[in-house]
Symmetry: none
Subunit: 225 residues, 2 copies
Amino acid sequence: MKILVIEDEKLLADSLKALLEGKGFAVEVAYDGETGAEYAELGIYDLLILDVMMPGMDGYQVARQVRAKRCTTSILMLTAKSAVEDRICGLNAGADYYLTKPFDTRELLACINALLRRQGKQVDELVFGNTSLDLDTCTLLVCGGKSVRLSAREFDVMRFLLQAQDRILSKEMILARVWGYDSNAVENHVEVYVGFLRKKLKAIGSNVRIEAVRRLGYRLEVEQA
Amino acid sequence: MKILVIEDEKLLADSLKALLEGKGFAVEVAYDGETGAEYAELGIYDLLILDVMMPGMDGYQVARQVRAKRCTTSILMLTAKSAVEDRICGLNAGADYYLTKPFDTRELLACINALLRRQGKQVDELVFGNTSLDLDTCTLLVCGGKSVRLSAREFDVMRFLLQAQDRILSKEMILARVWGYDSNAVENHVEVYVGFLRKKLKAIGSNVRIEAVRRLGYRLEVEQA
DNA sequence: AAGCTTCTATGAAAATTCTGGTTATTGAAG
DNA sequence: CTTCAATAACCAGAATTTTCATAGAAGCTT
């Protein structure tokens, strides 16, 4: 995670850098608006922390220019100006969050997390071996390879297996979970669907195998080459 | 643009609703946390406005539950609690922005815009494949080609599909979003309107197909030549 | 009436379940 | 260490059920 701090007060800028680096971020600092905007437009940062009041180009101008260049990096505006008008101005200039100084460092970190969480590839994916299950599209895909759609029932079974990772799931458990506790489906249904899934896993070249564990059930396993 | 307000003070809730509807948003209100969470989990809203202090389930709990259900709707938290700890708690619970009462309506609107802008949903045109939807004229058009007018209902369905891009939308979700969660429309209505849209997409030579995903719903797909 | 929306009905398609038979694995007895 | 029942797993295809697409009629609204 790469953060650019644009702040003319060296003291604050440097202490921010230290704080954030302590939390594991890669931090760069620009001490004026012009260079800040220039760096920001590279589009290589995950977040900009932007002071409003700076000599030369102020924070609003930087935000507007960055946005005008279609750069969508999240912007956290940080300033001593606490008037409502200033906050509105900042948000309208393209900021994603507005925090007034003096700020609590824990609050700053919570904001940063919220912003990164929002843009972060909210990976709605379950993974095992080289294979993952996309929850949005019900698609099973091999890392950098083929993919295949699952039917609703196949998807439910696969998801349950992936959630269990390499633990063993009994057929009773799978039945109860996928078909429902009170359905009258029988264990053979599980066997049939495991069969379907094995076929599809093989078709896309997955290294995940559904291993049958006698008397106990099934579990996922990564095939050794 | 659909907003859900979760707020137990009827007066505030209703004036928020009026304010936002005046700005062209479709607004629904839940007067307690439980029903609010239930509605929110439908995933049909573009934004949740969430009060923290409510009897029963409070705002933090609602946010956490909604996030636990993998619902990524933006959350704007609104509350009288102004302590730093509360703001941190809200953000960590999954909120995207934290605003303290009393708030300036212009600031609220600026926040909402910032959040919606971030979702990339404020654009005047939704695009998929070679086809786009003009929000001003309710017109579906193929890049450099023909165009066709959509009826209001067709438009709502198409817009929802385009917002979801290639994610699968269940008929239930489309019903809730387009016809309203409390309408007595049935799933066949969705099927019928998908039929209409397919006809129009074909008529203008679009490469966008509305694929039916059995048991799960519909999704957009670009037709391979 | 025209156009949009809703409703109903029907055939088609696909997913799911069921069935019966074949193959594999286990554990105990020889 | 074999052999052999017994049990479990697997498979292919048929039967069933569910879901989907479409046409056309009916109802509204303007």
